[in-house]
Subunit: 403 residues, 2 copies
């Protein structure tokens, strides 16, 4: 296998939106690192070959100083601001990334890569195991958030990008942001971890374990070998998604959206169909998720989040993970997020304070729960825009529209 | 079929503890109401025959004024204070019910019946459908909390017990307490609903729906017909239990009990076995649950809780459910219960206040979550003992030990 191979794959669906002037969007990019460029994983295994699929938005400036890396969450992907090829829906951070938006593609060159272990083009458990010629399945090594970040660093090296102006992301994306700032402090000028934590709690591990057990209980999972057997554990994965989806919302949001309202009926049906709107909604979430996500990837990525414990790698002291950092941080939490509550985000702030870092902290008042980072939250947009503007001034970047 | 048949079944395991003096415990009692005594259900169906399995503790006094009805929760049963025949473990409320305990069996005659739709002897989906001679499965009618209470009232009528000195229970048991006080105000002197609500919230319906979908996704569920096919959906039911169990605890309790501690290992194993203690614990909860519980009962009882909405039956005004009541109430909530938080318990207090009822309210400070009503919570014991003592004085019952 050749050392490095870069391709721009044709997309299944051509996005209808034209790139606005000043913005260049390149879809379906991927790079493959060959056997002479293995990725050494935390588990001790050298992974090779390694393909990384990514999207870029905006234009890289001459001195490559305007790069923003966006890190996606558990079930996200590289399509942060471009139409998703499987669902046809707008990118998951379309409201944040684009011309004139908080992560302004008329100003910044935005990179978003599918994480290691994912299922949208980057090497993961559905990829071909070179030793067998068949999909890895459970022979894929267990990866960590640090491994994901190492893979992203390889991508940046390949693109000959030395430093990131900023790195931002929510939830598992926020874990990657923290890992970036800790492992490559000299490469990160500004970091914005949103609705995340420096380690996964017992309750969160518990919810993930329920999801994994739901997948593994499905006989069509075939001990992870479903690709080879022409099956898919859609029922188990749908149950996993339903359970997880409840945790992404808040009780208040569920009450506001659904309460005890009935679905397409005037009275209780005394049966097990979806009587209540909330049941119908969750079933829909489960059913649509399985169309776009690989069950084994779900196992691997939840495992990576469970394993995440930044302090554990630094003598149990989180501040040590950021010792001597010059990175500017903005930490964001949401008042109704019970998966990554303000308290665990604030723990990161305290560690950064102890490390003498520049850090600001924004707690956004909202009833929308953990998923708020994906939703219409003007306070989040203001915070992100303000933080990037301020950091850009400090970095000496041109103001928006000055190009 | 004869009108009413009462039997005392031999138990699989004989309890080792002898009944203390003054306390008479009768195990394995059941009564069957024949076709001439059908139970009219909320769904409009007449259920017949109907068997109710129950346990009693203590001695009924001459004027039958010392009866305490204990109502069990979703996965509880009639073995409140006697050894469970399947698990060999002490009763689920053993710390509350017994000689000298808050529900003092030297003073009170305690009845605890398996709920309608349950799987420990009372008629439920695993019972024989008289029309087919096979287990009901999904042909069992969907029952409500009100139906459960109607069945209990039939049991009391059969025992020729007119009034209950008190009725107490937590969670789904608390729903039954509220339903008792609302439907039979003249039969209930004192009521203690614990960690419950007058209606199930959208989030709670959502969690129940996840559990049901987990059961139904198991091919061994066989559309509810697993008994006839010699199968059991143990994997699906275990997943349902794991998800539910997380909701019964609190984040603080999970952190205190498990944190991120590893299970029988010194380092992460980079695999999908239970690395963390919390995973091992949840798997154990799932595996042991399926040994003692019927999957279809789980569907029916969760559905009954979802359907519970006491105000809806009274013009949308909860206070109307208790209009003119003379019952004394003591409402109890737990600070760390996020399934039935203090706020929804307090809503019941407010409705009782509006109805002019005698009501006291105790919020117990604990980090143990919803399951606190089953755990060692001295404040709960004190509240229950004090409430019953005070009500007994008002009722003119003999003090403990005066017999």
């Amino acid at each position: 296998m050749s050392t490095t191979r870069t391709t721009t794959k044709p997309r299944k669906r051509t996005p209808k939106a034209k790139a606005p002037s000043g913005q260049e969007t390149v879809h379906g990019q991927r790079v493959t690192f060959g056997v002479d460029r293995p990725l050494r994983l935390d588990c001790g295994i050298d992974l090779s070959p390694l393909t990384i699929a990514y999207e870029t938005y905006g234009t890289l400036d001459a001195d490559k100083a305007n790069v923003v890396l966006v890190c996606h969450a558990l079930t996200g992907d590289q399509y942060a601001a471009s139409v998703h090829p499987a669902t046809g829906k707008p990118g998951w951070w379309d409201r944040m990334v684009g011309p004139g938006k908080p992560i302004d593609t008329e100003r910044f060159f935005v990179i978003c890569a599918n994480v290691l272990g994912g299922c949208m083009g980057t090497t993961g458990p559905a990829s071909e195991n070179p030793e067998t010629g068949k999909p890895y399945g459970l022979s894929f090594p267990v990866v960590t958030v640090r491994d994901m970040v190492r893979a992203q660093a390889m991508l940046l090296d390949h693109l000959q990008i030395e430093t990131l102006f900023a790195v931002a992301g929510g939830s598992m994306g926020g874990m990657q942001v923290l890992q970036w700032a800790s492992d490559y402090p000299e490469r990160v000028f500004a970091a914005m971890p949103i609705a995340t934590a420096a380690r996964h709690t017992a309750q969160n591990i518990g919810f993930h374990e329920v999801g994994r057990q739901a997948v593994m209980a499905d006989p069509d999972w075939c001990r992870g070998d479903y690709h080879a057997k022409g099956k898919r554990p859609t029922k188990g994965l749908a149950v996993a998604r339903m359970a997880a989806h409840i945790t992404y919302l808040s009780e208040e949001a569920l009450h506001r959206k659904f309460g005890r309202r009935l679905q397409d009926r005037d009275a209780l049906a005394f049966g097990f169909d979806a009587d209540f709107q909330v049941e119908s909604y969750l079933r829909h979430q489960g059913m649509t998720f399985v169309e776009r996500f690989d069950a084994n990837s779900y196992l691997y990525l939840t495992r990576a989040m469970d394993y995440f414990d930044l302090a554990a790698d630094h003598g149990g002291v989180l501040a040590n993970a950021f010792a001597g950092t010059h990175t500017r941080f903005c930490i964001v939490s949401f008042t109704s997020d019970w998966l990554f509550p303000t308290e665990v985000n604030r723990a990161v702030v305290h560690a950064l304070n102890a490390a003498g870092a520049r850090v600001s902290f924004v707690e956004v008042e909202t009833d929308s729960g953990h998923d708020s980072f994906l939703l219409d939250e003007p306070e989040l947009e203001t915070a992100l825009r303000g933080f990037l503007d301020s950091a850009a001034r400090a970095r000496g970047l041109q103001p928006a529209g000055a190009a």
